[in-house]
Every structure is written in C-alpha cells, then in structure tokens.
Symmetry: C2
Subunit: 333 residues, 2 copies
Amino acid sequence: MKVSIFDVAKKAGLSVVTVSRVLNNAKTVREKNRQKVLQAMKELNYHPNAAARSLAKGKTGVIGVIVTTLQDSFLDTVVQHISSHLKQYSYYLAISVANYPTEVGAGKELIQEDRVDGLLVLAAVHEEDYVNELRRRKIPFVLIDCQNIQPSFSSVLVDNFQGGYEATKHLIDLGHTSIAHIKGSDYFLSAIERERGFRYALSEAGLKPFAVEFGQFTITSGYDAVQKWLQEGSLPTAVFAADDFTAIGVINALTEKGYQVPRDMSVVGYDDQLMFAELRPHLTTMKQPAEQLARHAVDVLMRQINGTNKRNITVRFEPELLIRETTAPVGSY
Amino acid sequence: MKVSIFDVAKKAGLSVVTVSRVLNNAKTVREKNRQKVLQAMKELNYHPNAAARSLAKGKTGVIGVIVTTLQDSFLDTVVQHISSHLKQYSYYLAISVANYPTEVGAGKELIQEDRVDGLLVLAAVHEEDYVNELRRRKIPFVLIDCQNIQPSFSSVLVDNFQGGYEATKHLIDLGHTSIAHIKGSDYFLSAIERERGFRYALSEAGLKPFAVEFGQFTITSGYDAVQKWLQEGSLPTAVFAADDFTAIGVINALTEKGYQVPRDMSVVGYDDQLMFAELRPHLTTMKQPAEQLARHAVDVLMRQINGTNKRNITVRFEPELLIRETTAPVGSY
DNA sequence: TAGAAATAGTGCCACGATATAATAACTTGA
DNA sequence: TCAAGTTATTATATCGTGGCACTATTTCTA
C-alpha cells in the first residue's frame, strides 16, 4: 500500500542504499543513477517517512516554539516569521502554547519524547528553571525577547531602554515639557526598561515627569490614567504609553471627553500592533523588528543544532520610531 | 546514555513486553508490577521515544493545523482551544501557517511525510482541491469555519446567516428603521451569509436597507463608509458591521466628527475580538463560540482517527449576541 | 485441588529509513 | 594492459518500540 524506499529501489533497479544516498544528497551517486532514482520516486509519488528517518538519524526535523499567548500581534508576527524562515531549513514547527502561569513546564513533553531538535522560547517571564533544565539536557535553544539575559544563553531581544528613550526624546524634541508615562506591569523586564529609558531622556533634558502611572499593557490602563488626571484637574501635554493598547486607551478616553489627539495631547505607543494600524489618528509608536528577531533566532538555533556555533551570544536589536499622527509640536494648534 | 525501554525493564526486574504493556495501558499487567514499572520509569526519568513509537505504531500523535493567519483573535482563540483540548488526548500540535494565496498546498509536507495523523483546516477559502487530495490519501480531517459545506466532509462552523439575522433583529427591536450594513469581502462565504441574514431580518420587518456598503473586514472599511454617508448628506441610525474591525472604524469616524455612539448611531459588530473588548464604548457584537468549535472539531477528528466515527457531519453552532454599550433604542437621547 | 482465567515472559519480526564497512566498478598513469 | 587509486554500490546491522503467537506462571473459582 504505502510506498517505501524499497519500492523505489526496486523500480529504479538499484539498492535501497543508493536511494537513501540520493535522498541525503550524498556525492557518490552516478548522475545517471540519480536520475533513475528521482524518476522512480516521482512515478511512485514517494516521500520518505519522517518517523523512520528520525529514528535512524536521531534528529526529528522539528523545532518547538514555546509561547505564552497567541493573542498578541507582536508575538504572532514573530511566530509567523519563524515559521516561514524555518521552511528554508526544511524544518517544521511544533507549537506549545504555555498559558502562563498555569503551565510552567510547557513543551516539556516535546523535549522528553525527543520530538524536537531545538526550542525557541518566546517572551517567557520566569524562565530560569526551565532554561536550566534545557541546558542540562543539552537541548539547543534560543530565547526570544525573554528577560533572562545571562550571557551564557543564546538570546535575541529588542532594546527596550533605547525604545523608551527614543519615544520620550521624540516628545521632548517636539517641545513638550509636561510628559507622563504609563507603565507596563513591573513583572516584565521590558516594562521596567522602557520606564528607565523614559526617565533617562527626561533627566537628560533637565525635565521631570508629569507623572508615572501604573498600568498593565491594557487599554484600560490608558483609559484609567486619563480619568485620574482629569479628576485631579490637569493633563500632561504628552504621554509615552508602555504599549499600543495603553496608548489607545488614552486616546479613547480623551476623545470621549471631547479632547483631540494630537491637538490636546501627543501620544506615543509601543509595538506597532497591526490591529491598530488603521485607527485614526494613526498612532505614533515604536516598532519592534519582528522579522529580524525571528530570522536571527532561527539562524542561531540552526547553527547550534549543526554544531557550527562557537558560543552563545545575546543580540540586541533596536526598535524604530514610527512618527505618525498622534504626536505634534506642543502648542501647535 | 539515553534510557530505553530495556533499561526500564532491567531496573524493574520485568520484561520489555511488560513495560511496553504498561506504556500502552494494556490490561494484562498485575497492579504490583505496574507500580514497579512506573517506579523504574520515574527513577530513570524514562520517556518513550516518539519516533520509534510512531514507526512501530504507524501513528504519530500529532495533529496538523492549517491556518491562513495568526493575526486574527477569533482564529487565535480557536487554535489556543484546539491546543489545550488536544492535550487531553495526548496529542501534539503542528502548525502550518498557509499564507494564502501564496501557498495553496500548505501542510502538504506534513501529510506526505506522515508527520500527522490528522488535520484541522481553519477558515480556508478555496479548499476544494486540497480537501479532495486529503480524501484521496485517506487522511482524517475536519474543516473548521470553512466555506465548503459538502455533506460528505466533516465540518464545523458557525451559522453566519443566523448571526446576521440576530444582529439586525436586535437593531430592529430597538426601534431602528434606518439601518445600514457594511459587508465583508464577498470572497468569504461568511460575509455573504451575514449579509443574507441582514436582508432577511429587514424584509421580515417590512424594512429596506439604508445602504449596503462594500467592505473587507477592516477598520478602514467602516471609516470610509461613514465618510461616504457624511458626504452624501445623511446617516443611518444604526449599522450592522460585518465584523468588529469594521464596527470600530465606524465608531472611530463618528467620534472624530463629534458624533457619539450610541447616541447618534447604534453599531453592532461581529466576532467579539478580544483586543477591542476594553474600548469604550464597549462594543455590542456577535460572539462566535470558539471553544465549542474547537472542542467539537477535535472530538470529531479523534473519532475519525480511532475509526469510531460512522459518518461525516456538518455541525453548525449558533453565535451569541452580546449586548453592550454601542446600541440603544432609537431616539433615546 | 483440578481446571479455568488472568497475568507474564520469550523470541522474533516489522516499521522505514541511515550508517558502516565491505565489495564492485570504473579511471588513470606508466 | 594492469596495478593502484578512486568512485559507486550493496549487504547487513541498527535505531526504539509495538505486535504477535506462544509458553510459562500465578491467581481465582467451583
């Protein structure tokens, strides 16, 4: 029923081994025979069985991706790029949605049963234990946008301090002096770093924050901050929000009260979430280089798997400021 | 180095077969011995090798999911539910992001190399050929929210006609008589069905549409429709938007021009996209039962794989109207 | 306590490919 | 033309597990 390598060999009038050679691009096959084999494979519509191959080679051709949620366009984008980039290496993608904090040991089974040759860990939070386990088992892995920046791990991430700094600098350059920040959850290093960048930019300019509000990367965070300021009686002229959700919340609250952005307030977000791309006014935001991140992570992982990697390195990419419609020079209206 | 079933057998003082029996939950193992085996497995931290198992059993324990994009919260949610529901069956998830229309034969390799035991096809558009190929190869599959409703395929979907009908009925019940619809791309059956539901509800009430505008499930679609109406000089009092993005675009355009929702216009969306859940005013929308959909699809697929499924059935779920803040009785302000 | 039923164990092959090492077939040069 | 060297091919063992057909042992039942 099922065509195996034997059938191909028979049809081509050669041995199984020769067929295997062709499959694995071994050099020592006469061109004429190679053609015969290819022809036979085609006619029989033969495709090697992955399980048998894995068993014999000790490699699966599968990469596992551990991700806490798919409900985030930045992560989705990264995953999508990982997927397409892996294809170039003829690798497949197995996804384990971790659902933190319920499942801490996500993807464990993938490793234990030797289902994957390597792992990409996305945006994990408390990954130390997990990662040490991987290390102990000698499973190649690369951390993407994780907090753990131990130099002994392969890791790619985006410079959040720089992002916070640039976003704030942009507002300062527009002449704003009354600038607030709405933080992300302190739980995430990214939030802490962005705040640090914010504070640094201000102090560099000899300014003090109008306010620094708590938030959790949600629309509500931005909405509530504005409510609070209104109740207290005064608004800043500019806000650096820890992410696009927060920024949208800010704009939403302002619009609802009859204020306009950027006339009454300039707002900068973070992430360039696709879903908000079309909302008016178009959001000025910090874009993270998802594709670069994905590509680099995959490349590094592949080198680790092939053993051609010398040492582990943390690579830091720069975010990019996208100036759109929610920021304007102070008092320009 | 690597622990195999032999090591476990040795440690437990039993034969390999008995260990294998324990692994496969065969009945004929004395409880005492089963414990001995489990104990040995634990101590050695043994886990069966997936490749060897697949090869021997002819099953992989992996389900493939074909999806066109991860940038949609409805699909994401479905995938996430699939993932967690599969765990109950001890199955893993391999994802193939199709990127329609570039890659039509997505996931082909998954099948050809016997990497999966079955497939879940999400929201495919022109899947006839693809699906026929699956059928020919006798790969179990279930279509989720696909257009193809041939009764000979297993398929689960949400009743879009009903959704369109209910959304519109809600507006009619609120007293609206000037109701418009902004369509989704005609390309999708879901869009066509929702429009049909819309028209049916109106005609049932003896009403005519204020307008039916073209759209493509985007924020811009909604935004542009409002712009157009404003230019033409009059607005409907209510709008049924083909999806939440469109609805957000409508609200966005209105707010920008100083109109308020629902004071000046009632708006109903479709999908209950998570990302908009916190936006004010909270969107009245049609929620699709993502979890039910995922659960049922997985169950059916499992039954197909186990051969306990008699015949293929199309199951249609009902969407649910979530009345929130963007709809109000006509003239209530 | 015999006999039936449940439980364990043995050994061998299959699964579909690759690795290894031995063998065969070509080249090449003097 | 033939030995030496190189390239191509093949037979066989192997990867880790499950299936099968029996046999051996233990436990339960009447």
